[in-house]
């Protein structure tokens, strides 16, 4: 009996001794090697995040390797896409101007005019246009300014320009966005794509070859400009509001993405608008009148918007107004 008890006791002691010799593994310590974790997150594109005791919860991100990709985008991709888009478009327009020349009204203006855009349409157009020019220049300055303008004017003057550019960029986004809404409401009715637009494109819009395709109030080319302005401008404005209120609605990854969307669409829009500005002024005789006085020459209108002229003439018995 005593021997049995002793044996039991020994067995128990053995068990406890065994338990004591096997402490909790220290493997947790080795799992979070700084180098391993950093490499892993860099390869995965993830972040190293933890808990923080200060109110700014953004600061809980210890390391965000995605900054490297954003840097590559900003310094290389954007600079190349923006540079090629803007300079390339200017070069194309120059080639077009020197080969095709100014598109003139055949046989010269008639002297008779017809109202194309009323005062509200023109005022809104110029509000959007003037905002866009300042927004575009101050935006381009953030990407190209330090390579082009900074060496010319020096750091102090360049900072002053960029600082005011930033204020202008922030504040003018509001009239720009408002103008887009008004523009949409004013012109969407006449900008719904239809079958005639296909014919217009097939005939090269009258830019290439002879003869002007029939068009309503807005031809297919103008409809493209309209939708680039509304959709492109809308997306640029929306992504811009994420940037203007930093971290209000998104995190660091969202801010980087907003910047990428904003800047890429913006440089493409600038290229598109350069073409719009060219054809609305230097590139075509009589086109600027539509947006300055609002009164266009009837001959010009018949060439470019034949169906619209017919409709307008039909509306009033007097037809076109004599000047």
């Amino acid at each position: 009996m005593r021997a049995l008890l002793l044996a039991l006791l020994l067995a128990c002691a053995g068990l406890t001794a065994q338990a004591q010799t096997a402490p909790a593994p220290l493997s947790d310590r080795d799992q979070s090697s700084a180098e391993e974790l950093e490499l892993q997150r860099t390869l995965q594109g993830g972040r190293i995040e933890g808990r923080i005791t200060i109110p700014n919860q953004q600061a809980a991100t210890l390391i965000q390797p995605a900054g490297r990709e954003w840097r590559a985008f900003h310094n290389r991709t954007l600079a190349w896409v923006g540079g090629v888009a803007v300079v390339g478009m200017l070069a194309l327009l120059a080639i077009f101007f020197f080969s095709r020349g100014r598109i003139r009204i055949e046989g010269g203006p008639s002297g008779q005019t017809i109202q194309r855009f009323n005062i509200l349409e023109r005022a809104n157009h110029w509000m959007v246009a003037s905002c866009f020019i300042i927004l575009g220049l101050s935006g381009l300055n953030l990407t190209f300014g330090r390579h082009l303008l900074l060496p010319m004017v020096g750091p102090e003057a360049f900072t002053a320009v960029s600082q005011w550019g930033k204020y202008a960029h922030n504040f003018l986004s509001f009239p720009f966005a408002l103008g887009l809404v008004v523009m949409f409401l004013l012109w969407v009715r006449d900008n719904i794509p239809n079958r005639r637009d296909i014919t217009w494109f097939k005939m090269g819009g009258g830019f290439i070859g002879k003869g002007h395709p029939a068009a309503e109030r807005f031809n297919a080319g103008q409809k493209v400009v309209f939708w680039i302005t509304i959709l492109g401008g809308g997306a640029v404005a929306a992504s811009g509001y994420f940037l203007i209120f930093p971290f209000a609605a998104t995190d660091i990854a969202g801010m980087q993405l907003s910047h990428i969307v904003h800047s890429l669409l913006a440089v493409l829009m600038i290229a598109a608008m350069l073409a719009h500005i060219y054809i609305g002024s230097l590139g075509m005789e009589g086109a600027i009148d539509a947006m300055s006085s609002g009164q266009v020459d009837v001959k010009w209108a018949k060439e470019h918007h034949s169906l619209w002229v017919e409709e307008e003439m039909g509306k009033t018995p007097a037809g076109a107004k004599h000047v």
Partner: protein, 198 residues
């Protein structure tokens, strides 16, 4: 010249936040701005560890690379500093920084940022050393006085080391050899593209 770096030994950091407090006090950093912070990973779980993080004064610093007004410069000790008189507060350096170091005082309308503020490695800025103008803009310049950053100097467990990269790496290496373990140097791979081989 020395190549100044920070090294955080997370096996020693006890999350006391004294480095954060010392930094704020030494430079009279405004409310809402944290040049240094302590992040705790795996909080309350096995493998919990705390890391004190500030600007790492990177090699080929991303902030300097993306700055639209080129306001950053690197000192002879490889400390990354910036000129607040040139900064326009665009926020690009924050998007590029892997460590979330740049801070912006909130001024004016919307989320309009003021001029960026970050850890100066206690080396001030482009103004004359230890002038009142330098102190107002950037805080104390301990480097000009021959002292190291205060956060590391006063760290009670010496978890945070500051100084020449080779020297602090050697101190860390000896520690790891003596105690038999070490999580490694946090942020070194990202900031300096090297690790502390033990």
């Amino acid at each position: 010249m020395a190549r100044m770096k920070f090294l955080l030994d997370s096996d020693r950091c006890i999350e006391c936040n004294a480095c954060v407090t010392a930094c704020k006090n030494e430079h009279e950093v405004p409310w809402g701005i944290n040049r240094r912070r302590v992040v705790t990973l795996n909080d309350g779980r096995p493998g919990e560890r705390s890391i004190s993080m500030a600007c790492m004064h990177c090699t080929d610093a991303p902030c300097a690379a993306v700055c639209p007004v080129s306001c950053f410069y690197t000192t002879a000790d490889a400390i990354v500093l910036h000129d607040k008189d040139l900064c326009i507060g665009c926020g690009y350096c924050f998007y590029a920084c892997p460590f979330g170091a740049p801070q912006y005082p909130r001024v004016g309308n919307f989320g309009s940022r003021g001029k960026m503020d970050k850890c100066t490695y206690c080396a001030g800025g482009p103004q004359a050393d230890n002038s009142p103008a330098e102190y107002t803009q950037y805080g104390a310049n301990r480097i000009a006085e021959g002292k190291l950053p205060l956060c590391a100097e006063m760290c009670s467990t010496k978890a945070l080391l500051a100084g020449d990269g080779d020297m602090i790496a050697q101190i860390y290496r000896e520690r790891v050899q003596r105690r038999g373990y070490g999580a490694g140097a946090w942020g070194w791979r990202t900031a300096y593209r090297e690790t502390v081989a033990v």
